[in-house]
Amino acid sequence: MASSLLFSQFMGGLTTAMFLFLIASGLSLVFGVMRVINFAHGSFYMLGAYLAWQGMRWFEPWIGGFWLATLFAAGAVGLLGLVVERLFFRSLYGREELYQLLFTYALVLILGDVAKFLWGVGQLSVSTPPALSGSIPMFGTVQPTYNLFILLVGPAIAFFGWWMLNRTGIGRMVRAAQMDREMLDALGANVGLIYTGMFVFSSFLAGLSGALVTPIQSIVPGMDVLIIVQAFIVVVIGGMGSFWGTFWGSVIYGQVLSFGILVFPSFSLFSVFALMAVILIVRPWGLFGRPLK
């Protein structure tokens, strides 16, 4: 009885963690490469969710409609990332962080209202794809298949990200851009292209996670500013710019939140914020990150 309760808290925490990882990994990439906290990342996630709902209305009758809608949403958000980076973000790289932060906040304001304008303020929901709508009994609990699927997607993306960053030519360029932008530029690499690529990839991930969350969470206005704070905490705990750091940061966040609710019901929110503050004080670059120059 008690152990099945613990197990279901553990699994709940892990599912939360994998979603957060999907969102936070993009935030962390953009921070690691461009040294910018992208508040609009939460808005990209929200747009991903709304676009997935929209895609479901078009593709639902088809086989694999949910997956088409998910790809559509992630691709569209990636495209939006491309436009934003090329048109605006690009000219802010040399500016003070105040302007960069406020620029991404301006996007939060604008995209939030665009979503309200297009999809209204009501709750929307997407049904679980038929193949994953069942549930599987485990250790005296019943786990929805879709959640288990998410538990596979998270590590898959983490592995892919790690592989791309550490085992490919593109990844080598990205790591070089993290270390010394000017030097890479002077060596003749197209740093602008790397930045654009990273921003688009990060937006794609945000859109993907927004789309994947729709079967288990309803889509509401305001989900953008709520999620960005959580993703931000995860990235701070794990270390800005570190892919595995973000992964373990999500796992820690999920478990602290999940078990915090059991121990202090009203202070589990407080406990994650306090954890973030302690980490920022002791190791500002996070558990797995490296200090900035």
Binding site: R35, I37, Y105, F270, L280, W285
Partner: protein, 322 residues
Amino acid sequence: MTARRIPWVLIVFLFAATIPWVGTRYDTFLAEQIAIDALFAVSLNLLLGTTGLVSFGHVAYFGVGAYACGILMKTYELPFIIAFPAAGLCAALFALVSGYFCVRLIKLYFAMLTLAFSQIVWAICYKWNDLTGGDQGLPEIPFPNLDWMSSIPGLGDLRTNEQFYLLAIAIIAVCLAILYRITQSPFGRVLTTVRDNPERAAFIGVNVRAYQLAAFVVAGTFAGFAGALYGIFSRGVFADYVFWSKSAEVMIMALLGGIGFFWGPSVGALALVWLNQWITDFTQYWPFVLGTILLILLFAFPGGIVGGLHDLWIRLRGRRRA
């Protein structure tokens, strides 16, 4: 230089003080909102513009002040004259503790830790039902006892909220004057040095962190005062006041007015509150408009309104001389 001697604070204050008589109740409401926001934004600018610290959690100190004053006046029924300074003190203490850690970090990490502290305050306000009322907030904070004002000739027939308005703008005028003195003092000059070149400031013997911390505490204190007034003005304190997006809003105010000038943020507060009223009359998409204004500011007018006017003035004067 004689133009600089005009006591602008006094003139604006005297003008604002006539609003309950010459304007509508709504005008008084707007003026009070503007005055409180102006104090809040100017206190932020002591960090943003004067000291060069990008604090993304200034709303925490506003919130601590608002909750401290509200709790003391409502739950403990203390008079305003005790609750108000106590609110400033609470904000100052919290700024001292959190600032001690924040100023150890540089740039983006500083911004992140201030944001983290403000979210901690939010989580406490949102969840600690016994003290802060949780998500219900603290409604019905009483007005201070203003009977003494009624005995002053000419003020007796005003409504309580108009009397409180007069008290609030008097307090705000004093606070702004103090903040102005601080930025003009040798202390303020050192803060500017720290902003422009922390390494060099350290070489000439300035304890950079101590000065940054001092600026952080002063800014937090005045934000606390603004919060205390705001809680009474809006007849309640709610956790929404402390959410991180509010910090961004007050930054936009400061930037809109111009962070390079002491009075910039108050002009920004005036412009933003007024714009908000005007635009929400015919569309519900105020955030969209605000975001667009912010984009225009960032890409076209980074100096804000006052900065833009200042440049214009310099250009006109230069042309006349030539």
